[in-house]
Amino acid sequence: MEKKLIGKRIPRNEDPRLLTGQAQFVDDVNLPGMLHAAFLRSEYAHARLVSLDVSKARQHPGVVAVYTAEDMGKDWFPGPPLVSPPPTVEDVVFHSRRQVPLVKDKIRHAGEAVAVVIAENRYIAEDAAELIEVEYESLPVIMNIEKALEADSPLVHDDLDSNLAAQLSQKKGDYEAALKEADVVIRRRIVIERGAAAAMENRGVIAQWDAKGEALTVWDTTQAPIPIRNGLAARLGLSESQVRVIAPYIGGGFGPKIMMFYPEEMLIPWLAMKLNRPIKWIEDRRENFYATTQERGQVHDVEIALTRDGKVLGLKDNFLHDTGAYDPYGLTIPINTQCHVMGGYDIKNFTSEFKVVFTNKIIVTPVRGAGRPQGIFIIERMMDFAAKELGIDPVEIRKRNLIQPNAFPYEHGIIDQAFAPLILDSGNYPAVLQKTLDAIGYEKFIKEEQPRLRKEGKYVGIGVVPFIETTGIGPYEGARVTVEASGKVNVATGIGTQGQGHFTSFAQIVAEQIGVKVTDVRIVTGDTSEFHWGTGTFASRGAVVAGSAIHAASSMVRKKIFTLASKILETPEEELELEDGAVRVADMPQRFISLGELALLANPLRGAVEPGTEPGLESTAYYGPRYGPTAFGAHAMILELDPDTMMVKVRRYVVTEDCGTVLNPLILEGQVHGGVSMGLGNSYYEQLHYDENGQLLNASFADYLLVGATEMPNIEVHHVETLSPLNELGVKGAGEAGAIPVPAVFAQAVENALSDREFEINEMPLSPNRLFELVKS
């Protein structure tokens, strides 16, 4: 079937509502009698809670209640583990330590909630929180992940023998043998530091308990409403059908809004039931820095073995991963790093061991990229160092090692974040790289422009980096597609939406099958009362997994439409056409029935629905992949650098993305643009600075530098479409892609621009000052 809508540059269905302020966000929900919550958070990163006196706060006018861990009684217990522990991989270590609703005995990171105040408004709640008297006994703070593993280090969790949270080794081939054969072995230590997700909308939770209806409704800025619903029901002793979680429009997720079971997510619904009043809590920006999860901190000791002509024989990468105070998200991030540290290269021998380390920092869970940027940064840096050492062009050494198009499916023989085998399903890696090189004019730049500009005294550099992105993992998603009597289509799916354009790309998938206008498809996401099976929006899986479920349900509805229309129009199905909201007899266009009429006939008020059939033009379908498709791409940038100030201007930025079938290039490009801006932040602007006592020193947008419009280059996006064989649509995910290779491209381009200086970039993020230090030292 030739595609009429999939792949078209269709403006987004949701934009009129978003642009005119009509989209409902959590903070837009205001309920009669609603109370407001404010949290008292620890100023210490590591301390024993000696005493807590809330009496003054309780007496403060307008305060309804103040709760501490003690006040919660038997309802105080940690959040659930979010990702199942790893399977019995040999010698795996995993100590699950989860965040608690309120601290009972020991504070493990600055910003941990100690008490919650419920008051008539937020002002009163915050004032009263300041009246709470807390006595802390400060403890030595564990900040450095290497020192944290030393035998005499203080412990984040006193019941453990060390600060080791987890440990996992994966191997492929025989690295030691590869090492013996190698002509060159390059070793480096590479350090990557933390950044914030910094979604435009902070988190928020509103809960309403209907005592008479015995029903709990929760509005939550979550990426995964169904797991939150299930967890809340279990936590509160309710049936899942008594709990409705709504994740309305959300102003950016980027990972930290996944089913975290944040303390606020556990507490606000519990309090709403306890007090029988609706309660609202909206995170402020400073809280977002202190109470919302972060990512990226790792220290790698990496070794690459090559032949003289630049063929990689083997790679060894042992690294430490900072998980912060707790590890609710299991091993997702470091396994992702492990799965990306071979990049898109055919590396036969590999060994990697990681250790996950508890520290007194804010909890780490995935942030857009989720361990992948680290892996790509490591391998791409090593490729650059190898190219330099062997005197090979950096692009050439990559071409010599890329996985070739005939090698798919390419089995790595290690497991991925979903504990499924890491199999790269399909791709044409050399074509993507070549398209990028052509678009940026690599040869011409190196041979003509750079020497010319250098003569003019300009420091310009180029970077080109290919990367993989594992996407679209299971377990599954589902969708229900209904043609209504209006002739319009209603679709419900369980995932949440945070700006990905689901209301359009999903509508295109449906409209393609059902022959209606894209604007006549209404998509409902993130409401457990509309669809209550599923997982959530993360791991670049929305289009792949939910999209495939929607495609499957739409195909089933299409069949129902043809079956019924065939009967009514007394014409064989193969002679019917479904288009423009009606079914026609192919050679008699005046003989047709509209979808609305058909929907009415499928749901009759009289007569009998035939046994074995279902009423309505409706189907529900699920899609669960055995393993996820792996997208591929390449980024190239040309930057100009002022060697006196180290200020950088990105002159050109080219992206080629192969995420299989492109559902909507407009939306895909938007995703890529957003990702690149985060990636640039991770390269040169955004870094969370903690002092040695666990105090976050730049917890405001005055000090934490987001990439602004003036730093953003124009981004050229190109596409290659290698369809995934794993799903009918042929799609692969793209949500995180934009962010993944940027630090690696940036480092290469900076070194290229300053090729007359002796220095090496072995860390991220950089900043003008840090680069200045590196170059001058």
């Binding site: 210490y44 600055a110 300041e130 400073r286 002092d691 006592n693 917890a699 005055a702 000090d703």
Partner: protein
Amino acid sequence: MKIEGEYTFDGPREAVWKLVRDPEVLMKCLPGTQTVNQVSDTEFTGEITVRIGPFSGAFAGRVIVSDEVPPQSCTLTVEGTGKIGFLKGVGSIAMTELEDQKTLMKYTGEAQIGGKVASVGQRLFDSVSKSMVKQGLDTLNEILKSNNA
């Protein structure tokens, strides 16, 4: 965070030392000081209001003087907590006599800050603390000069 510097007083060391050890004088010298109570010969408690960027708030604190070698040197241990954060620090001062009845004070210290002061105010904390120290020492020097006059 390190606090370090030196200051030349227009007076003899004995006179400077006496002023430094006088809580009444200290209260005048440290901008924003509300109260100073002498708990013992070497321990003082008090309250000070500090403005750092967008925040201002009262800190309740304690200063302990130790390793005293009059009129030469001593160690100060400071602890303060308030609505906008906490501060802990250890510092030492050392004074040497210069010619012309002048005294050179060298001070050095390590401060640890937490809470809002750290997360939002740290960029300003350095300059605020420096200006507070300078203002304090200037006032002390003025008192010294007027006493000598």
